[in-house]
């Protein structure tokens, strides 16, 4: 590493921390919305199911970059709603993550066999109890691996926030490149940092999966 680029180590690390923070936030919010939408998908009311399908299909189909522009410029133009780059990026990332998570949640719940519902209902449980004690604990084990995938993809999507001026890891690198005029080395550094972060998440995910196995 050349001393010129090395002098900016603190900026790189701050950028990485911001990337981790905003993608965590988006995963958390996306998970929350995803659970709600995923539960709507299996609701007995047709209107709710429809709404859920529409939500998932819309936000799964629009590229994250378009959502970033839409949240930052579009909302400002159409509704005079001026979001900060941080808010716009969070909303855009959450929209994509929640659409993906709703599918993960639905698949997780549907992976629990009909017999499990029958056994739980036969013991006198109400719907909410069946969910809480029997279906959810099994669904969550199925949901874990794809959720890790959603987190990694959300973290990568967060680099697009650079385009609306949000200073996360990619934007930090671009700023350093502008200041120093050094391109290749800077891009290599951010690439390695993304790899280290995402590979660590993969490893943590794999160990969680092992921990969640029924038999230890």
């Amino acid at each position: 590493m050349s001393p010129t680029v090395g002098a900016f180590w603190y900026v790189f690390l701050t950028g990485a921390a911001v990337t981790l923070w905003i993608s965590w936030l988006a995963l958390l919010l996306g998970g929350l919305v995803g659970v709600i939408v995923g539960m709507m998908r299996i609701s007995k009311w047709v209107a709710l199911r429809w709404l859920a399908v529409a939500y998932t299909e819309v936000f799964r189909s629009i590229p994250p970059l378009v959502l970033f522009f839409g949240c930052f410029y579009g909302l400002s133009y159409a509704l005079q709603l001026d979001l900060s780059p941080f808010a716009a990026a969070t909303v855009a990332l959450t929209a994509t993550a929640s659409a993906l998570m709703s599918e993960v949640v639905r698949a997780g719940i549907e992976s629990v066999t009909h017999g499990q519902w029958q056994a739980a209902y036969s013991s006198g449980m109400r719907y909410d109890q069946v969910f809480r004690y029997v279906v959810w604990p099994q669904a969550i084990r199925v949901m874990l691996p794809p959720s890790i995938g959603v987190y990694i993809s959300t973290l990568k999507d967060s680099s697009l926030a650079s385009i609306i001026g949000y200073v996360e890891l990619t934007k930090s690198g671009l700023l350093i490149r502008e200041t120093t005029g050094i391109s290749f080395e800077v891009l290599l550094i951010i690439a390695v940092m993304y790899f280290v972060i995402n590979y660590s998440i993969s490893l943590v995910g794999a160990s969680l999966e092992r921990k969640f196995k029924y038999v230890h």
Binding site: Q118, S122, S123, G124
Partner: protein, 250 residues
């Protein structure tokens, strides 16, 4: 063997169950009195399992009436949960909860549904594991148990709720032949205790030795209803003869 007239714990009157235009149960009447062991036999697809699921309100019905301990069984009603707590159900495919140990499987409903203290329930559960001869397997997960062991845990799970009626839906059909006997032995002991049981099975030997009544169902109807010895020795109906003939001679 109760012969004096007792008021039925379960009364089914004119039950009709349809899926769309397909009639699965076509006018079934059945009373079960306390202590009685009723064995239901018949070809597959004649509504035997559906009948059991109607009794605990897992299926809605299109006609007739089901009354359990003087309360109407209505699927999707608020009262159905309270009725199900008093009916134990044992499934062909066991349906143990795979994320819980055998002991936790047995304890879940008494603790979470009845709100009993975990300590008392555990004591009772330990007793039930002795009863089904699995005290050494209480901390195993279902995936570590053989089919016969899983089914005996499922029986313990049903008993933990102190049910007034036990329903068995082909409890040995998914088992390896060598473990069938363990499950049937436990069921026979339950019958000897005076439990009220409704058993759908192909085990004619069990029906003969343990059953008070044998019911032959075909085409969604009860074709014959008599003491097991009598039905096995002298089936009155032609279809009963054919069915018993086919399963006794192979």
């Amino acid at each position: 063997m109760s012969t004096e007239p007792a008021s039925p714990v379960l009364r089914i009157e004119g039950l009709v169950k349809r899926y769309g235009a397909h009639v699965v149960i076509d006018g079934v009447d059945l009373d079960v009195v306390p202590g009685q062991v009723v064995v239901i036999v018949g070809p597959s697809g004649t509504g035997k399992s559906t009948l059991l699921r109607c009794v605990n309100g897992l299926e809605d019905i299109q006609g007739g009436r089901i009354t359990f301990e003087d309360q109407p069984v209505l699927a999707r009603s608020r009262t159905v949960h309270a009725i199900r707590r008093r009916i134990g159900m044992i499934f062909q495919s066991f349906n143990l909860y795979p994320h819980l140990t055998a002991l936790e499987n047995v304890m879940l409903a008494p603790v979470k549904v009845l709100g009993e203290s975990a300590k008392e329930v555990e004591e009772r559960a330990r007793g039930l594991f002795r009863k089904v001869r699995l005290e050494h397997r209480a901390h195993a997960f279902p995936s570590q148990l053989s089919g016969g062991e899983q089914q005996r845990v499922a029986i313990a799970r049903a008993l933990a709720m102190n049910p007034h009626l036990l329903m068995f839906d082909e409890p040995t059909s998914a088992l390896d032949p060598e473990t069938v006997g363990d499950v049937l032995t436990v069921m026979e002991e339950l019958a000897l205790e005076g439990r009220t049981m409704l058993v759908v099975t192909h085990e004619i030997g069990f029906a003969r030795h343990v059953g008070d009544r044998m019911i032959f169902m075909d085409g969604g109807k009860i074709v014959e209803d008599s003491p097991p010895e009598e039905m096995i020795a002298n089936p009155r109906n032609l279809r009963t003869q054919q069915f018993l003939g086919s399963i006794l001679h192979h």
